[in-house]
């Protein structure tokens, strides 16, 4: 497992045309391809590292997936696992040397969700409806990238608070809600004119 393709891609992307976006289009496409190759290679290293770090009880090593298309609201593990009745394990790694308290968001297709930390304590979470324009962007780009629309339908963004130690990771488990515990649904309203 190496990260040499990523190193090469990042080195090439320091050219002044790459930084400013003044390269020719076929060069932009080449940068994209090299960065993608680097990402795919590094993803395996990350998955292997996290698997090694989280395997503290001598169980079979867990295989981790990432969501490189989260920026277009596409994340198959979070969309499909929850709807199949399984729980989703989310590992959050902090590459900086200080503690981070942030809110992360993942797309989900169900509306009753509970988030727990590694000790099983419930973590505050919030569901935000996915807007039509986000869905439109998702569908347009999935057609371009995958050649077909997504098999799943997402309804909400699940937001929850994470706390991650310096240069370390935290683990959260997202499950379909049981009685008495669920995410708070956002109150949504539209203002148009003076109404």
């Amino acid at each position: 497992l190496k990260t040499e393709k990523l190193a090469n891609a990042l080195a090439i992307a320091q050219h002044h045309d790459a930084v400013t976006g003044t390269e020719r289009q076929h060069v932009a496409a080449d940068y994209t391809m090299r960065l993608h190759m680097g990402y795919v290679e590094a993803e395996k290293v990350i998955s292997s590292s996290l698997s090694s770090m989280t395997n503290t009880h001598g169980k079979t090593e867990t295989s981790y997936e990432q969501c490189p298309l989260l920026n277009i609201s596409y994340c198959p593990p979070s969309e499909t696992l929850l709807s199949n009745g399984k729980s989703l394990v989310v590992v959050v790694y902090n590459p900086l040397g200080w503690n981070r308290e942030e809110v992360i968001q993942i797309p989900v297709s169900i509306d009753e969700v509970i988030v727990q930390d590694f000790k099983g304590r419930e973590v505050e979470s919030q569901l935000l409806p996915v807007t039509k324009s986000s869905l439109s962007i998702r569908n347009d780009h999935l057609k371009a990238y995958l050649g077909k629309p997504s098999d799943t339908v997402i309804k909400y963004w699940l937001a929850f608070q994470v706390s991650v130690p310096p240069l370390g990771f935290s683990t959260y488990v997202v499950s379909g809600a049981r009685a008495g515990a669920r995410s708070v649904m956002s109150s949504a309203f539209t203002v148009q004119g003076e109404v």
Partner: protein
């Protein structure tokens, strides 16, 4: 009843109901309050003439007029409120979508923009900018980072070490921004952090502008040999590029913004890494 307030923590943003625009920034912890507007506009690219042949292109920024982007149809905003964050969704045109987020535990506003495909059917290349306006009297001075290092003082229409003759009122005051830009008026400082290398400036006192996307129709004949008009194709259907990113706004009492710019500037370029796995029932890892 004339405003909508978002933010469950110290930071509150007020939007005017009539027009759906951001109108005020309030931080209850440090008593900072400021009138703030945020809008979009574009510069059309200069196409070159016999007398003045240098066209606006990938390398050369020569604007040929500035046009504000007015909302298509009725102004509207959709607000989502909850215990962790509030969101404001705005759609000023069919090709600009914006989500403003205020997190309960943070004292900055996060603005996520989705822009494109930039329309060119009117025959004009466009460079899209967003403007954040305040009433601060900043005396022509602003500060931009130097390729991620120190923030350097910039004075509009002025260079410290030579007599500048301004021939491009906008481009002559544009600077590269990798981490952020800020202005101050002796009492407050308005800081903006970015998630990518972009161009930006403070063209008017109290204002910061960021160039977020560009689509041009002329080669500037400075070497690239191609028009900056990138497209994405699916099934032989090619459209102009759609870009998506974030920038972050905060107003501090004078002297208190540097810590935020340094720490959050680092966090923006070192995001938390997420990895996912499945788990059966209560089989805890």
């Amino acid at each position: 009843n004339s405003t909508v307030e978002i933010g469950e923590g110290n930071l509150k943003l007020l939007y005017s109901v009539d027009g759906g625009k951001l109108s005020q920034y309030i931080n209850r912890r440090n008593s900072v309050s400021a009138v703030v507007e945020q809008s979009y506009s574009y510069y059309t690219g200069f196409s070159g003439t016999d007398e003045d042949p240098q066209a606006s292109g990938a390398y050369v920024f020569r604007s040929n007029g500035s046009f504000s982007i007015k909302s298509e149809g009725k102004d509207s905003l959709t607000v989502m409120k909850g215990p962790l964050l509030d969101e404001v969704h705005q759609h000023p045109t069919s090709w600009i979508h914006q989500i403003t987020r205020v997190y309960k535990g943070k004292e900055h506003a996060e603005i996520e923009f989705t822009i494109g495909p930039i329309p060119i059917d009117d025959g004009a290349g466009k460079e899209i900018v967003t403007q954040i306006k305040t009433t601060m009297n900043t005396n022509g001075t602003f500060y931009t980072d130097s390729n991620g290092r120190d923030f350097i003082k910039r004075i509009r229409d002025h260079r410290a070490d030579w007599d500048l003759e301004v021939s491009q009122a906008i481009a002559g005051n544009y600077y590269p921004i990798n981490v952020g830009v800020y202005v101050e008026d002796g009492k407050k400082e308005l800081s903006v952090l970015v998630d990518r290398a972009i161009g930006g400036s403070s063209i008017m006192d109290g204002q910061i502008e960021l160039m977020l996307h560009r689509r041009l129709l002329h080669d500037d004949s400075r070497g690239v040999g191609e028009v900056l008009n990138e497209t994405v194709c699916a099934f032989d259907d090619c459209k102009g590029l759609v870009i998506k990113g974030k920038y972050f706004i905060r107003i501090d009492p004078i002297g208190e913004g540097a810590k935020w710019r340094r720490s959050v500037g680092q966090e923006i370029y070192s995001p938390l890494i997420l990895a996912f796995a499945e788990q059966d029932g209560d089989d805890w890892m």
